[in-house]
C-alpha cells in the first residue's frame, strides 16, 4: 500500500468536468457542476435519490446521449479532449471508459461470449487462443476465474447475482478501458456478494480510475478515496472521503450523513 505521502504525489487528474448542466426535456437535472476525477483512485458519488448522481456519471461516457430529449452543456475533459467536442466519436470513447450498472446485466450468452463479444467486434483479438487468454485474464482480474473456469459455456444468466456483477466487470475490463464507471453496482446484491465486489474494486484501483455511485454511506467510506456529495443537481461538497465524513464543511452534508433525511 502506498503511504499517504505517495498518494499525494501520484495524484493526477484523469477526467475533469467543467460547468456541466443537464436537462431532461424541460427539467434541469444538473446545474453547472464541476469536478475532477483523480487517476487510479476511487471516487464515490453520494446524495439523496434523484439528486443527479447517475446523470453525472452517465455524462462521463456520454451514455446520456441515448436518452430522448436530453440536453447537455459544459465540458468533460478526457485525455486532453472535451468528450462532447464534435469530432469525438462516442463509440470510440465508450470503449475507453467502461461502465457497470446497478442491476447486473449479462448478455443472454455464455460466460465466454459475454466477455469475448466486444473484443471480437473491436478487432482487438483475432486468434482463438488469444481470445481464450483474454477471457481468462479478464475473469481473473474480476476475481471470477476460479469459480467459473470449468463452465465457460454456461449462460451468464445462470450465475448468482454477485457473480453476474463480477462478470459484467470482467466484460468491461476486457476491452481495456482506463476508466470504470459504476452506478450502484452492489445495490442489487446480498451482503456477502457486496463484500466480494467491494474487495474487487479495491484491487482494481491499482490499474483503473473508478467512479462509483452509491446510496450506502458505509460503502463510500469503505471503498472510496474521494467522495462528492450531490444535492438537487449540485455538488455540495467534494473532498477526500475521510474529511467529508468526519468534518463535513457544509450543513447539508452533515444532515445527510447523520441520517437526518434521505
Amino acid at each position: 500500500m502506498p503511504t499517504v505521502e505517495q498518494t499525494r504525489v501520484k495524484q493526477s487528474t484523469k477526467m475533469s468536468v467543467r460547468d456541466l448542466s443537464v436537462w431532461y426535456g424541460e427539467k434541469q437535472a444538473l446545474f453547472g457542476v464541476s469536478m475532477d476525477v483523480i487517476e487510479n483512485e476511487v471516487t464515490a458519488l453520494i446524495g439523496p435519490s434523484g439528486c443527479g448522481k447517475s446523470t453525472f456519471l452517465r455524462c462521463l461516457n456520454r451514455m446520456n446521449d441515448l436518452v430522448q430529449g436530453v440536453r447537455i452543456e459544459g465540458e468533460v475533459e478526457f485525455e486532453q479532449e472535451n468528450v462532447y467536442a464534435p469530432h469525438v466519436d462516442v463509440v470510440e470513447l465508450r470503449s475507453h471508459i467502461g461502465m457497470v450498472f446497478q442491476k447486473p446485466n449479462p448478455f443472454p450468452k455464455s460466460i465466454y461470449d459475454n466477455i469475448a463479444y466486444a473484443p471480437r467486434i473491436l478487432g482487438k483479438v483475432r486468434k482463438r487462443t488469444e481470445m481464450d487468454d483474454l477471457v481468462e485474464e479478464s475473469l481473473k482480474r474480476a476475481g471470477l476465474w476460479e469459480e467459473v473456469k470449468d463452465r465457460l459455456q454456461l449462460p451468464g444468466l445462470a450465475l448468482s447475482g454477485g457473480q453476474q456483477q463480477r462478470l459484467c466487470i470482467a466484460r468491461a475490463i476486457a476491452v481495456s478501458p482506463s476508466v470504470l464507471l459504476m452506478d450502484e453496482p452492489c445495490s442489487a446484491l446480498d451482503p456477502v456478494a457486496t463484500a466480494t465486489v467491494e474487495q474487487l474494486i479495491d484491487e482494481l484501483k491499482e490499474n483503473y480510475t473508478i467512479v462509483i455511485v452509491t446510496h450506502n454511506l458505509q460503502q463510500a467510506a469503505r471503498v472510496a478515496g474521494y467522495t462528492a456529495f450531490f444535492h438537487l443537481g449540485n455538488i455540495i461538497e467534494f473532498s477526500d472521503t475521510d474529511s467529508l465524513f468526519t468534518h463535513p464543511r457544509e450543513k447539508k452534508t452533515e444532515d445527510y450523513i447523520t441520517g437526518r433525511y434521505g
Partner: protein, 389 residues
C-alpha cells in the same frame, strides 16, 4: 499501457459505421416497402372503384298509359329504350299506382342508363351496338346525358342489374350481425377475462383455458364456418343465412380477441388499487366492479371495437352458412336472411358483367372507410383514456 488514446474514429470503426448505415437502410427500406404496399393497394382500389360512385343518366320523355304500364319498354322512345336501365322500366306500374295522376301523361325526367352505356362512357368497354351508339351520340349532342352521383350504391340493395346494385342491405345486415357479435362476445369475453385475470386459481385447468383461448385466436376462420354450420344451423336449428347464425359464428371468432385484450386492460390496472380496496374491506368482486373495471373500461372497449372490426371484415366462415347469396332486401329481424358487406363484395367479385368490377372496388372502398373509422376510433379511445401509472 501508455499508448496515446485517440477519440477519433479508427479505420476499423469507419468500416463498422458503414455496416451500421447499411443495416439501418435495410430496416428503413423494409418499412417503406410495407408502406408502399399500402399506398399501391389504396391507389389501385381508388383507381378501380372511383368511377362506380358516378353513373350515367339520360333525360328522356316517359309516357304513362295503359299500354306502357303493361309493356313498360314502350314508355320511352323506341330507339332510346335500349339505353335505359331495366330497373327504371319495372318501376313504371308502381309509379302509376302510387300516383294515379300520372296516367295518360308524359313527363321529362332523368333516368339511369343501362350499364353498357355507363361502362362505355367511362371507357371500360370500347364497343357498343351501332344503333345504340348513334342514339347515345345524339343524346349527348342534345345535352341529355349527364353523370350523376350513384345514390343507388348506398341506398339500394343487391341487384342483378349493375346500374341498380347497391350496398344498403349488406350494410344493414352487417349492423345486425355486429349487434349479435357484440351482445354475445362482449359479456362472455369480458366475464372470461375477469375470471382468468382476477379469480382463477393458478392450476392446470386454468392454464388449459388460457392455452385454448390463445389457440382459438389462431384457428383458421373457415373452421369456424364448419362449426357454425354443424352446431348452430344443423344442431340448434338457427335459420340458415340469418344474421343470428352469422353473428353467433363470428362471435365465437371474436371472443378470443376480446378476452385477450380485456385481460391486457385488466392487467394494466396496478395491483395496489385492488389491494387498497380490499384492505378497506371490499370483497374481491366489489374491488373488481368498483375500481378495476371502470379503470380498464377504455382498454376493454378498444379491444372490443378492434374485435368487432375484424368480425365485420370476415367472409370465409359465412361462405358455409349461406350468407353469400342473393339477398337484396335489408333484414328486419335477426332470423331473416341477411348478407354482410364483405359477402356482398365477394358476390360482386364473382359476377360476370364488367360493371361489377368497379362496383366491387367501390364496395371495398366503402367497407375500408368504415373499418378504418372503427379502428381509428379505437385508437383515439386508447390514446385519450390511456392511463400511465
Amino acid at each position: 499501457m501508455n499508448q496515446r488514446i485517440s477519440l477519433q474514429p479508427s479505420r476499423r470503426l469507419k468500416k463498422r459505421y458503414r455496416a451500421e448505415k447499411r443495416f439501418k437502410a435495410y430496416c428503413l427500406g423494409a418499412l417503406l416497402l410495407a408502406l408502399t404496399f399500402l399506398v399501391v393497394f389504396f391507389a389501385d382500389m381508388i383507381h378501380q372503384g372511383h368511377s362506380a360512385f358516378a353513373q350515367t343518366q339520360l333525360k328522356v320523355d316517359v309516357t304513362y298509359n295503359a299500354d306502357t304500364v303493361k309493356f313498360t319498354m314502350e314508355s320511352v322512345d323506341e330507339d332510346v329504350a335500349p339505353l335505359v336501365s331495366r330497373a327504371f322500366f319495372r318501376q313504371i306500374p308502381r309509379r302509376v299506382k302510387n300516383d294515379p295522376a300520372l296516367m295518360d301523361t308524359t313527363e321529362t325526367i332523368w333516368v339511369v342508363a343501362n350499364s353498357d352505356i355507363d361502362q362505355y362512357r367511362k371507357g371500360h368497354i370500347d364497343s357498343l351496338d351501332p344503333d345504340d351508339l348513334a342514339t347515345l351520340e345524339r343524346l349527348e349532342a342534345d345535352g341529355d346525358v349527364a353523370m350523376g352521383f350513384n345514390k343507388g350504391l348506398f341506398f339500394s340493395g343487391d341487384s342483378k342489374i349493375p346500374s341498380n346494385a347497391g350496398l344498403w342491405s349488406a350494410f344493414v345486415g352487417s349492423i345486425y350481425v355486429m349487434l349479435v357479435v357484440l351482445a354475445v362476445s362482449f359479456p362472455i369475453g369480458v366475464a372470461t377475462a375477469i375470471y382468468l385475470e382476477e379469480f382463477a386459481p393458478d392450476n392446470r385447468f386454468t392454464q388449459a383455458i388460457e392455452i385454448n383461448i390463445n389457440n382459438l385466436a389462431a384457428v383458421p376462420s373457415i373452421l369456424f364456418g364448419l362449426l357454425g354450420l354443424a352446431i348452430f344451423i344443423n344442431f340448434f336449428g338457427v335459420p340458415r343465412s340469418s344474421a343470428l347464425a352469422g353473428g353467433l359464428t363470428l362471435s365465437l371468432m371474436t371472443l378470443p380477441v376480446i378476452i385477450i385484450s380485456t385481460r391486457a386492460a385488466l392487467r394494466a390496472v396496478p395491483q395496489n388499487i385492488r389491494q387498497g380496496a380490499q384492505a378497506v374491506g371490499a370483497s374481491r368482486w366489489q374491488s373488481v366492479r368498483d375500481h378495476v373495471l371502470p379503470l380498464s373500461l377504455p382498454g376493454i372497449l378498444t379491444g372490443t371495437i378492434i374485435g368487432i372490426a375484424q368480425a365485420m371484415g370476415e367472409t370465409a366462415p359465412l361462405l358455409l352458412i349461406g350468407m353469400i347469396a342473393y339477398i337484396p332486401d335489408a333484414p328486419t329481424s335477426m332470423t331473416q336472411a341477411a348478407t354482410v358487406l364483405p359477402a356482398q363484395i365477394f358476390t360482386w367479385a364473382g359476377m360476370p358483367e364488367r360493371a361489377y368490377v368497379s362496383l366491387t372496388a367501390a364496395g371495398i372502398l366503402v367497407l375500408l372507410t368504415l373499418l378504418i373509422l372503427l379502428n381509428a376510433s379505437a385508437v383515439l379511445l386508447r390514446n385519450r383514456f390511456e392511463r400511465r401509472w
